[in-house]
């Protein structure tokens, strides 16, 4: 059984490309385009890894991260935060919210796979 990865990203183009990239590498990909849907999907799918864009509608990525990390059921699922923000403070915030890693946009497929492979 291939690993399940939940991609929480509001940009359809990016989520499409991430999905293709991960599928090529043998992962099973699930998508969510906002915070609320993401919360539902996590419990529904119980993924092995979550790729979480910080800037997503309805429920901010940082809040999603905090919520998931505070729930013992899903707190063990590693979360890689994805953001266009490159400031040191932004990274700090994500780490504080419980993210395992931080991937800044833009990134290449190789970089993405390298990050993912660290956790699966």
């Amino acid at each position: 059984m291939s690993s399940k990865i939940l991609v929480i990203e509001d940009s359809k183009n990016i989520s499409l490309l991430i999905e293709k990239c991960l599928e090529r590498n043998g992962f099973q990909v699930f998508l969510a385009e906002d915070g609320l849907k993401a919360m539902e999907k996590v419990f529904e799918i119980m993924p092995d890894l979550i790729l979480l864009d910080i800037l997503i509608p309805k429920l901010n990525g940082l809040l999603v991260c905090e919520a998931l990390k505070s729930n013992s059921e899903v707190s063990k699922i590693p979360i890689i935060a994805i953001s266009a923000k490159t400031q040191y403070e932004d990274i700090q915030k994500a780490m504080k919210a419980g993210a395992e890693d931080y991937l800044t946009k833009p990134f290449t497929p190789d970089e993405l796979i390298m990050f993912v492979r660290k956790y699966i």
């Binding site: 940009s11 990016i14 490159t86 800044t104 290449t108």
Partner: protein, 610 residues
């Protein structure tokens, strides 16, 4: 004539000559008097005394002659008697001619009459002798002649005595006169000396005292009191000098007033200019005391000129930071600008001011004060902030679509077998420029962070040798492909530096990448370092094309290009970011280069201090 100093001195001389002449005349007169007294003493009485003495002699001889006549030889006696009679009469006449004393005439007359009687009695004696014989004659002589003889003799003695007394009196008189003359002369001499002295002192003082007044006047003018007038009303040379002096000082005063007037006009003009300038200006003296504050400064610092004039800058502005900056600038250079603006908060809005301090030279080329201009750069700061925010926003906004482009091209490039070669080329072009775009966005973001001061820096001790080694390793493939030799000449034993490892690696990467771009095949790029003056001096030297001097500063600006050396593969921000990183370490970076002789980029880094 007597108004001039010459005349005055001459008149004193004349007066002294007059005094001397007076004393001389008085002395001569006294001597004359004395002489007269002595003269009288000798002339008047001496004749009478001589006459009286001779008369006594003559009569005594006559008496002897009578006795000779009587007892010895009558003829001889008569002859001698008449001889001596003649002599007696000669002296008697002399005495008569020289009557000087009061009773003298009476005494001479009695002597004369007695003598006539005596001569008469001698005739009688001769008659008696002839008639009555010698015995009767002797009797007559004893009874009659001898008393007359004694009477004549006593009269003569009286004359003698009278004159002797008179002579003694005259002598006393002469002594008295000489004494009186002496005292008189002494008195007059003393009076003359005193008078001469008083007159001399008085006139000398009168001549000299205006000179003192003049001297005081000159001193007063020297002290700058041009209003001083010398009050000398004499008509001599000094009076003339004083009046010329007064003329001179009044001319000076006039000149002074007109120059002061001009200066005042110039000063007011300058003040008006300063006051009307919209940037705050504060003028201070060498002790940092406020001497001028313009309207704008009053508004900005919320002070009033009249309250702060003459007060120390700290006290006047209530802000030590501004004072410290001004002090730093003043002590550094003649005209200097501080690159770090000061912030003044007003109504919750931060205003930024750049301080420029210009010293005011005085005529000895020394500094007499400083003009502090506070250039309002708030607007520039705002624009800078907007620009920075804009760049930051744009770069962030570009990142998401860039991710799609990068991801998309890369995914396509993973499977090129189904593509035509044309499709493959297009995808590769997109991929290449997509990568370029990512670099540009990253560089822009770095630069905006550096410019807005938001760039983090993590200082740690590090070995410059290691950093260079790592950097060269990452570029060794490129160098090899271009057949350029990379040499790390840094000694591993050098002291450690205190830097942000990643940033310095980036600095060396940028410099070596640049060198690689502008060095031809077979070239050498050498990195060296040495510690000096508390800094590590790192050099990246190539033997490439070199940079003309006019670009040595410009190349560190954003998007700058050296002449026609278009940098197709770079973003044009590399050196600006490199400089920003070095500056973040309080270091400096510059280039030494000549076209055709290669370039040497040098930067300094702080050493690790325990």
């Amino acid at each position: 004539m007597f108004h001039s100093i010459k005349g005055k001195i001459l008149s004193i001389y004349l007066f002294l000559i007059f005094l001397i002449s007076l004393i001389a005349s008085i002395s001569i007169y006294s001597l004359f008097n004395l002489n007269k007294a002595i003269d009288g003493l000798i002339a008047s009485n001496y004749t009478s005394i001589a006459a009286a003495t001779n008369m006594i002699d003559a009569i005594e001889r006559q008496d002897s002659n009578e006795l000779i006549y009587l007892e010895v030889d009558a003829q001889r006696g008569i002859r001698a008697f008449s001889q001596n009679q003649q002599e007696f009469l000669v002296w008697l006449n002399r005495a008569k001619d020289n009557i000087t004393e009061n009773n003298e005439r009476k005494v001479i007359e009695s002597a004369n009459s007695d003598y006539l009687k005596y001569i008469e009695y001698f005739s009688k004696l001769q008659e008696i002798k002839n008639k009555s014989g010698n015995g009767e004659a002797v009797k007559f002589y004893d009874n009659e002649i001898y008393p007359v003889f004694n009477s004549v003799k006593s009269s003569c003695r009286n004359i003698l005595k009278l004159n002797e007394e008179s002579m003694f009196k005259s002598k006393q008189n002469a002594t008295e006169i000489s004494r009186k003359q002496m005292y008189g002369t002494i008195m007059i001499s003393i009076i003359s000396i005193l008078l001469g002295l008083v007159v001399s002192i008085y006139f000398t003082k009168k001549i000299v005292s205006p000179i003192f007044v003049l001297t005081e006047g000159v001193k007063s003018v020297k002290r700058g009191n041009l209003n001083h007038r010398i009050n000398i009303n004499t008509h001599d040379e000094i009076g003339e000098l004083a009046s010329e002096f007064n003329n001179m000082t009044s001319r000076l005063l006039q000149y002074d007033k007109s120059s002061i007037n001009k200066l005042m006009v110039e000063k007011n003009k300058s003040i008006a200019i300063v006051k009307s300038i919209s940037d705050p200006i504060i003028v201070i003296d060498n002790d940092y005391k406020t001497t001028l504050v313009n309207k704008s400064a009053e508004n900005v610092f919320d002070i009033s000129e009249k309250d702060v004039l003459g007060r120390h800058m700290i006290e006047a502005l209530g802000d030590k930071k501004i004072f410290n900056k001004v002090k730093l600038i003043v002590n550094n250079d003649e005209v200097a600008e501080d690159n770090d603006p000061i912030i003044i908060k007003k109504q919750n809005k931060a205003n930024y001011y750049m301080i420029t301090a210009t010293s005011i030279p005085n005529d000895d080329d020394k500094v007499s004060g400083t003009v502090c201009v506070f250039k309002d750069i708030t607007h520039l700061k705002e624009i800078e902030q907007i620009k920075s925010d804009f760049i930051s926003t744009v770069s962030h906004e570009l990142r998401t679509p860039l991710t799609s482009i990068i991801m998309g091209t890369k995914l396509l490039l993973d499977d090129t077998e189904s593509m035509t070669s044309e499709q493959k080329e297009i995808i590769q072009a997109i991929d290449e420029d997509g990568g370029q775009l990512v670099m540009l966005v990253n560089d822009l973001l770095d630069l905006s962070k550096l410019e807005s001061g938001k760039m983090q820096i993590n200082l740690e001790k590090a070995s410059i040798f290691d950093i260079a080694e790592l950097s060269l390793k990452s570029l060794s493939d490129v160098a090899e492909s271009r057949e350029i030799e990379l040499i790390n000449d840094i000694s591993p034993k050098l002291p450690q530096v205190y830097v942000d490892y990643k940033k310095i690696k980036c600095v060396i990467n940028n410099l070596v990448t640049n060198a690689l771009k502008y060095t031809d095949k077979g070239g050498i790029i050498r990195i060296s370092a040495k510690a000096e003056k508390g800094f590590m001096r790192v050099s990246v030297k190539d033997n490439g094309r070199g940079i003309p001097e006019e670009y040595h500063e410009k190349i560190f600006d954003k998007f700058s290009q050296v002449g026609d050396m278009a940098d197709a593969s770079g973003t044009g921000l590399g050196l600006a970011i490199t400089k920003g990183f070095v500056k973040q370490h309080n270091g400096d970076i510059w280039v030494e280069s000549k076209p055709g002789e290669g370039s040497n980029f040098i930067f300094t880094l702080p050493l690790y201090k325990g």
